[in-house]
Amino acid sequence: MSKAASRSKRGLGGWGLIAVPYFWLLIFFLAPFLIVFKISLSQVAVAIPPYFPTFDLYEGWQAFREGLSELSLENYVWLTEDALYWKSYVSSVYIAAVSTLITLLIGYPIAYGMARSPEAWRPTLLMLVILPFWTSFLIRVYAWIGILKNEGLLNQFLMMLGLIDEPLVILNTNVAVYIGIVYSYLPFLVLPLYASLEKLDGSLLEAAEDLGCPPWKAFWKITVPLSLPGVIAGCFLVFIPAVGEFVIPDLLGGSETLMIGKTLWVEFFNNRDWPVSSAVAVILLLILVIPIVLFQNQQQKMAEKNQ
């Protein structure tokens, strides 16, 4: 059946059903985004709200057109002029990428172990992975301060074992940020990965072995390629929020930690420069969305080629 034919057969009920998620996206994603985008084109002002121009429907068409003419890309130009911004972007992407890689290295064995465990254990193990969500994210990040600080649990433990003589300086460094991100986002990687590994038919590995492939090689030739969708989904779920992460670098990181979320926060609250911080947010969104769209296009083309 052609696309057009299937479309014409879709009744009013069908359209209504599809309209719900679109409506949701419109209200809670597109509309806020347009507001932020508009602010990013405005100029900073000492006013409430702290930018200019503002649109007021009561002022009529003329005022609206005048307002439009005041909008400019000035803030975006500014972002290219001050090195702080692009350095923040690069540093954020770098920290997020490294954290994602570490999370994958830790998460894959966990997900693999869960998927290979006896069936009766799996719900319990799954529960244990989700369990941290029962505590507030903020509290869990705070708890890491208690663990990582100079006189914290980790240093006390290592000194008790005699492995170190002086406390390690971890808190307020990038290392603490990595620890925080990896810890916080691990479940987001484990869950989709577990889902794809659990579906994997065990007889495929037996077949590979039967055909002369040792188990470690079968892992690379069969398990890894077949779990790739789970790996990609999990990595996206870690990487995307990690790039824009604010709480973790703010609480665990130090002055050297440069992340865009922090820059944005400073711009917004300390400098009260809403237009520039909006521009920062829009660029951040583009940095994240464009590669994903390109990737999805690529995947689609591959899938179509296979058909």
């Binding site: 038919d201 007889s203 495929l204 037996e206 077949a207 590979a208 072995e209 039967d210 055909l211 002369g212 492939c213 040792p214 188990p215 090689k217 030739k221 069969i222 390629p225 077949l226 296979n306 058909q307």
Partner: protein, 385 residues
Amino acid sequence: MAKKTIGPERRDLVPLEDPEQKQFIEFRNVTKKFFDFVSVNYLSLKIYKREFFALLGGSGCGNTTLMRMLAGFETPTSGEIFLDGQDLSGIPPFRRPSNMMFQSYALFPHMSVAKNIAFGLEQDNLPKSEIDDRVAEMLRLTKLEQFAKRKPHQLSGGQRQRVALARSLAKRPKVLLLDEPLGALDRKLREETQFELMALQEDLKMTFLIVTHDQEEAMTVADRIAVMDRGELVQVATPSEIYEAPNSRFVADFIGDVNLIEAKVLEKADNGTRMQAIVGDFAIDTEQTTAASVGDTVWYAIRPEKVRIAQGQPEGSVTNQIGGIVWDIAYLGDVSIFHAKVGKDDHDILRATKANISRMVENPITWDENVVLTFDRDAGVILTG
């Protein structure tokens, strides 16, 4: 008169009774326990080269476990397995010279048909040209040439089955293990494929070992069948022997349809045995001798197609004759099955089948009609177990 035998013999196969013929696969006192469950119980079995051998049994009888131990996926709790003179214990599956075709086919979903077939060959680090040649040969053998580039999910069930077969044959294993290979196919395709498998096995001159629960499949493809029950071999013989000379009530009942008549031994002679049926009250005269003593209770197993059914007294002399009333008739097209009540109880039924050799019958046998059931002296088997 020529000497009577049970079934034809495959001429190209070295007679299995030949003491010179060396066993190719041997299970020696093999036991496999899963916790408390004994899956295979102290089993010994020899399979010869170029045999098509079937392990037949219902679910949980241990035939799959036996095959998986040969492939190396299960380790015997005790006992040894030999393949071509080599003790297989401690050898991992990827070093064993056998290949298996899985019940689920276990095709690699991310690889094309050609890649699936090449997988085993690539593990042996064969030169690329040789791999390509062998893959092409396998594609030709299984008539899959035009599907070489497809992924498994783009194939029909029958095509997938052929890919699985091609993949397991590509390495030219010493023995091909087939685990319920045709279970997922519909009846027509299954029957066709059975004959293809037999032709393939003869062409390639390989040893095939098949696990199945389908007795018709086993009888069609196999040179010899091992009937298994609860981890033990009940009977190992050719299909015709299994059918015509079962060694126990289990085998007689498991393979095909059978009347099992409980009887008392009346008289023993050199040329036969006379018995008295316990229900139905009729005498049975057979040419078979038995180890049971006079007065013992035995079972007389007779296949329905070997019982003749007629409306009146048959002409000529008859050794075994029973009167009955037609209780039920099942018309199957090619044959009709008659259930004749021969005793006082409603369950005292003797089944007889009759080939429908003409389309129209004058005065057909009908319900509640008095009939005479007859059978020859060599029609059935005396069973003591």
